[in-house]
Symmetry: C2
Subunit: 201 residues, 2 copies
DNA sequence: CGTAAGTGTGACTGACCTGTAACTATCGGG
DNA sequence: CCCGATAGTTACAGGTCAGTCACACTTACG
């Protein structure tokens, strides 16, 4: 409807600004007044586009999830028909997140901060994380892991643990070993899978 | 100064009540008015004992950390001179936490919710988690792990990841496999340690 | 009895919060 | 040139927040 690049719409500015401010101060740590002021707009525009602050939060989360989906799709393109390479790429991507996004996963942080069960953002978060885990398991299966679901669960726990630990124990904490541990888990599972297949075959 | 059991002091009631309410609603989700009302006391008593809400938060965290230290000490008593047994006990303890404390680790949740770097609770949390990790590494070393620090970091990431995942992916998510994965990691590391020692010896 | 420490009470401040209302300004398409 | 949609302005409602104050009460101890 509008050329992007010339001048972003108030709606987009609100979402982008809110995402950044929520990340920095937490959901409850920033008010809508501060958001609209930083976005260079006003409160009425915010409430016309999003019915409530909670809906704005959900929209921000949706944007983050979409961005993560893109990253995942790019990974599949980079390693076509190479699930083992995809697993390695995923590990590298997560390791990169740990180094650059020091504050952890926004979806996890939001889920932990929001204690209301009926919050619209919760469903978005749960859906995304479930799909992420399923995709990971599929890649593990394609890579020939002995127990693909077990490997996916292991990698998932390591990822979440590393990103949480990065915030508390710092860069030199356990998260520094994430890549090494994850790669070892993948190698062991694939080796066992090959051995198992050989036994059968 | 006062017999415990007859009637708890207002101070203790405030800490216990605040801990429970913070857990249920989050730090920013509950006000001091609600805390003192639930504790059967008043705001002035709270502010006479703790200079601010932030200090009360830090005191609650200190209490939780002390409780966790007790659990750890009990573990050492249950498996005297048996570091391998202690590792198994630790895994079982964490697995039990995952099942019973569905909302995750209060220290982690608080650290994620509090975005102010200078918050008095942050130092308490970082200190406790660092000590926990060091203790874990010492037990791994005593148990004869090939790379004790690596094993400790692995177990730590699995623990944090499992407890976070429990909140988002539910009981049937990756956290259901925590015990199995953790025990396998311990077994593999100890086996490699024994093999390495045999090579040397 | 006297005193002192700890505790309870309710009113209060000033700031901040989400959300609404009424009105005005801009701008593109018919 | 007007219409309708989008956006901006100002003001405010109705709450909640942390934190303070003066004052009264209970309890224990000498």
């Amino acid at each position: 409807m509008e050329e992007p690049g010339t001048k972003s719409s108030p709606r987009d500015r609100i979402v982008d600004t809110a995402t950044a401010l929520f990340r920095k101060h937490g959901i409850r740590g920033i008010g809508v007044d501060a958001i609209v002021e930083a976005a260079g707009t006003n409160k009425m525009t915010l409430y016309r586009h999003f019915g409530s602050k909670d809906e704005l939060v959900a929209e921000c989360i949706r944007g983050q999830a979409a961005h993560a989906d893109e990253k995942w799709a790019k990974l599949a393109c980079e390693y076509p028909n190479d699930p083992v390479g995809q697993l390695g790429g995923w590990i590298k991507m997560v390791a990169n997140y740990i180094c650059t996004e020091v504050h952890g996963c926004d979806l996890v942080n939001t889920a932990i901060e929001l204690h209301e069960d009926e919050h619209p953002a919760r469903a978005v978060i749960a859906e995304f994380k479930t799909v992420h885990l399923r995709k990971l398991a599929e890649v593990c299966r394609a890579a020939g892991a002995a127990d693909p679901e077990l490997l996916a669960n292991t990698l998932y726990m390591l990822m979440e643990g590393a990103r949480v630990s990065r915030q508390i124990n710092g860069a030199d904490g356990p998260s520094a070993r994430f890549m090494r541990v994850a790669e070892a888990a993948v190698a062991a599972s694939i080796a066992a899978g090959v051995a198992g297949a050989a036994e059968v075959g």
